[in-house]
């Protein structure tokens, strides 16, 4: 049934080519699949770096009064950890998957603007390298190296030259700005591709949910990134030309930076999470052997999350003294997000209900995702209750909450996606046995670390402190939090081994190892450069179901 195509070169001939030629192919490529792979792999490399930074922080905090890293280093670590995880790990990985999958899922041969796509990737990569160069060259040409220490949201006026001299803060500012330029390019590309390059029969109403999430977040990106970039240019003017946008000593406004930043920063969470929802919405049906329950509702929920998310940003600012009116308005808009998010969870459960659930590794990660994301959603509702947030804001409770969102939710969804699409991308299966070890160690380690963090938060421990007094009753909580770290490290190592071994010796996947229903499974694994020999005609939301069940196609049910 697959639309198989011959590769351009036999594997033996390919293996004989010198590595420099291979490298050259990757550097000059404009193929959406290769760029997608490079996005995800670079994202995973930065993930390891940011994970090492987190490990050092957890060692320092394992017990009160430790001296593993000095205070200034600790502040650099959490700044680099947060900045990397959002801009160099989260965004590239979800946009990398979007890059790889969107054209395949809608029956296109590439994205609309392949060279813009390559440009976006290289902007991101060099932005990441620029940011990390600050470890060596942060204080300027003559000074010693140091990374920025202003936190990932870089609140004014800590970012003014009076409080952060040298160039460390400029590395943060410019690297994030440049990464943003790349992301805007990719966002334009994905919107243009889905609007203009869908294959025959692939109407908007038949696009896979994952594609819908990518269109939604790409459109959101076009709204939210330019304000951040503008604010970063203002900061640049403040720092180099003596402008006073955020310079409070000269009448500037510190709160204005927060509005600019969170107008980007909060929707950004949904830019990361929605594709995670997309992964789950693709994987749960296949492993439950059932069509997604309430496709139209899920699409509506996706788009409305994208819309409402643009009006919730100031819930990050309940403690800046906005006044009762604004506090109430933003509490309401934030709570409203819970409605479409709840719909998604209910629809996934309804999809599984009555199915025949197969617990392969991608599905295991989706199951943990469901429970952990439910937790994250509920703590999110707690934080939307403004008076409760006056206690919890900037405490470890918030740290626990957003790690439940981004690790317990997004990272688990990303691992599900990697196990699910690895066979398509490489032609080989990942090991189920190692996958289970990876999964269970990560579940236990993650919950040891981040479930306990809610505790420190309600016991009054603020975030971003490099040490704490011994008499506050926080030490056992922090010890347990740190004890979860080695388990997570081992889990990630097992994953790395799994990938390395499977790339060489993994079981051959074939075109459609999961017996799935979307178009990417209709071509070879890995797909040829042009994706499909003949573009398949889409007859319903599950084109491959229709091929496999000609007696009972989906069309009449839609």
């Amino acid at each position: 049934m697959s639309v198989l195509s011959p590769t351009l070169m036999s594997p033996e001939a390919a293996a004989r080519r010198p590595w420099l030629e291979h490298a050259h192919d990757w550097v000059v490529t404009v193929d959406h699949k290769r760029l997608g792979i490079m996005y995800v792999v670079s994202g995973l490399v930065f993930f390891v770096v940011a994970g090492i930074e987190a490990t050092l922080m957890r060692l320092q905090l394992a017990w009160p009064g430790l001296h593993i890293v000095p205070p200034e280093t600790f502040n650099r670590l959490f700044t680099m950890h947060g900045t990397s995880m959002v801009f160099l790990v989260g965004i590239p990985i979800v946009f990398g998957f979007g890059n790889y999958l969107v054209p395949l899922m809608i029956g296109a041969r590439d994205l609309a603007f392949p060279r813009l796509n390559a440009f976006g990737f290289w902007m991101f990569l060099f932005a990441g390298l620029l940011l990390h160069w600050s470890f060596i060259g942060g204080e300027g040409l003559s000074g010693s190296g140091s990374a920025p220490a202003v936190g990932w949201f870089a609140y004014a006026p800590l970012t003014s030259r009076a409080f952060t001299p040298g160039n460390a803060t400029d590395y943060w500012n410019l690297a994030v700005f440049i990464a943003g330029v790349g992301t805007i390019g990719t966002a334009i590309n994905i919107v243009a591709t889905t609007l203009t390059m869908r294959g025959p029969g692939m109407t908007l109403g038949r696009m896979p949910i994952f594609v819908w999430t990518m269109v939604t977040v790409s459109a959101m990106t076009l709204f939210i990134l330019p304000p951040l970039s503008a604010a970063q240019i203002m900061l640049l003017l403040d720092r180099f030309l003596g402008a006073h946008f955020f310079d409070t000593q000269a009448g500037g406004s510190a709160v204005m930076w927060q509005h600019f930043f969170w107008f980007f920063g909060h929707p950004e969470v949904y830019v990361l999470m929605l594709p995670g929802f997309g992964f789950v919405s693709e994987i749960i049906p296949v492993f439950s052997r059932k069509v997604i329950f309430g496709y139209a509702t899920l699409v509506a929920a996706t788009v409305s999350i994208g819309g409402v998310a643009l009006s919730t940003w100031a819930h990050h600012m309940f403690v800046v003294g906005m006044g009762t009116g604004l506090n109430a308005v933003f509490a309401l808009s934030t709570m409203l997000i819970a409605v479409p998010t709840g719909i998604k969870i209910f629809n996934w459960l309804a999809t599984m209900y009555g199915g025949r659930i197969r617990f392969r590794t991608p599905m295991l990660f989706c199951c943990a995702f469901l429970f952990q994301f439910l937790c994250a959603g509920l703590t999110g509702v707690m934080l939307s209750v403004a008076p409760f947030d006056w206690q919890l804001s900037d405490s470890y409770f918030v740290v626990a909450h957003f790690h439940f969102v981004l690790i317990g939710g997004l990272l688990f969804a990303i691992f599900a996606a990697i196990y699910y699409w690895f066979p398509k991308v490489t032609g080989r299966m990942l090991s189920e046995r190692l996958g289970r070890w990876h999964f269970w160690l990560l579940v236990v380690g993650f919950n040891l670390t981040f479930l306990t963090m809610h505790g420190q938060g309600v016991l009054g421990m603020p975030r971003r402190i490099y040490t704490y007094p011994a008499d506050r009753g926080w030490e056992m909580w922090n010890l347990v939090t740190t004890l979860g770290v080695p388990l997570q490290i081992v889990a990630v190592l097992i994953f790395a081994v799994n990938v390395a071994v499977s790339l060489r010796r993994g079981e051959r996947a074939g075109d459609d190892p999961w017996d799935a229903w979307t178009l990417e499974w209709a071509t070879s694994s890995p797909p040829p450069e042009y994706n499909f020999e003949t573009i398949p005609v889409t007859t319903s939301r599950r084109p491959l179901w229709d091929m496999k069940h000609p007696d009972d196609p989906d069309g009449p049910h839609e």
Partner: protein, 337 residues
């Protein structure tokens, strides 16, 4: 808040003997109306969340077990269910209604806490954030101190609330003493306000909650709640100028001849600097360096000798004093009771 719509009475037996100094600043152990009100509200939210979690996670667990693929199911596909308008409408409308109720409750508490007007007899305090210490000013009482906020206890029958004005001279800080109230930021070029009415004498700990630079971690804060008469005695003691103990004359001369006075004030002397903490009654305070060390003679001497050794990155410079000078200066500082 005595007749106000929010806040609960303390449970009998909470803190019968006052609170010891070393304690956990738990948000579930409140002693002041705003914190009590927030705990009350949090119980509503936590209860609601617990019910939702149990129901949804329960359904999920049941589904995963009940509908797992069993041996013998073969490769037959289960019945395909494409959706149901009624069911989906139900799980859209019900959460929406829950959210609306939650919002109304939340709005009531927001207005209840933030809308409290200041009574004319309330104690007014201004807290000014500095990298990395708190300046505490009592504008009507003529007192300036640091890192310790002293307030009178507030009897719910005869409330004596303290209204706090929050400002910052440098970057953003945040005032957070969890047992007394939620946090509020101190923002340069902006004035914020909050209030507390602690009902139990004792010491309550907190610290800066907004990252403010290198020593954000050692920007601790204590609120000492006194019975009324004890508070009046504290005020009277703080209002006196610094003692001029003849035994410490050499140290005093040295202090006044050094650049200490560029940053520190000692009332009753020419030292009137404003960049560092007021030292007039330094020895009445429990800690130095915003909680980084206890206020003992040894720690004080070590601090003056090399502040960065106790609190790396601190803005106070090491004065590179000779040992004898250091002794003499410490002797003087110890007289500032």
């Amino acid at each position: 808040m005595d007749q106000g719509p929010i806040g609960t009475e303390l449970a009998a037996g909470d803190h019968p003997q006052g609170v010891p100094t070393a304690q956990t600043p738990s948000i579930f152990d409140p002693v002041s109306s705003p914190a009590l009100a927030i705990r009350e509200l949090s119980f509503v939210v936590l209860g609601l969340s617990a019910v939702i979690f149990v129901v949804v996670a329960g359904v999920a667990a049941y589904t995963l077990v009940r509908f797992r693929n069993r041996p013998g199911d073969g490769r037959r596909e289960p019945p395909q269910v494409y959706g149901s308008t009624q069911i989906e409408l139900a799980w859209t409308v019900v959460p929406f209604l829950i959210v609306m109720v939650l919002f109304l409750v939340t709005a009531r508490y927001i207005y209840g806490i933030e809308g409290r007007a200041m009574p004319s007899d309330a104690l007014e305090v201004t807290v000014v954030g500095n990298q990395w210490w708190w300046e505490i000013r009592y504008p009507r009482l003529g007192i300036v101190t640091a890192n310790e906020l002293h307030v009178p206890v507030s009897d719910p029958a005869r409330p004596a609330p303290t209204f706090i004005t929050l400002q910052s001279v440098d970057v953003i800080h945040s005032f957070w003493v969890p047992q007394l109230a939620g946090k509020m930021d101190l923002i340069p070029n902006k004035t914020n306000r909050m209030w507390i009415d602690p009902r139990v004498p004792g010491t309550y700990v907190g610290q800066c909650a907004e990252y403010c630079g290198t020593q954000h971690a050692w920007m601790l804060l204590e609120v000492i709640v006194h019975p009324r008469d004890e508070f009046d005695r504290w005020v009277a003691a703080q209002q006196t100028p610094a003692v001029a103990d003849p035994a410490a004359r050499a140290g005093r001369e040295l202090f006044l001849s050094l650049s200490c006075i560029n940053c520190h004030t000692v009332r009753g002397t020419p030292a009137n600097g404003v960049f560092g903490p007021d030292l007039t009654h330094l020895m009445s305070r429990r800690t130095i360096a915003a909680g980084a060390a206890r206020n003992t003679p040894e720690a004080l001497r070590a601090w003056v000798d090399a502040p960065g050794a106790i609190k790396p990155g601190v803005l106070m410079p090491a004065m590179k004093l000779a040992k004898s000078e250091l002794d003499s200066l410490t002797t003087y500082l110890l007289t500032l009771r």
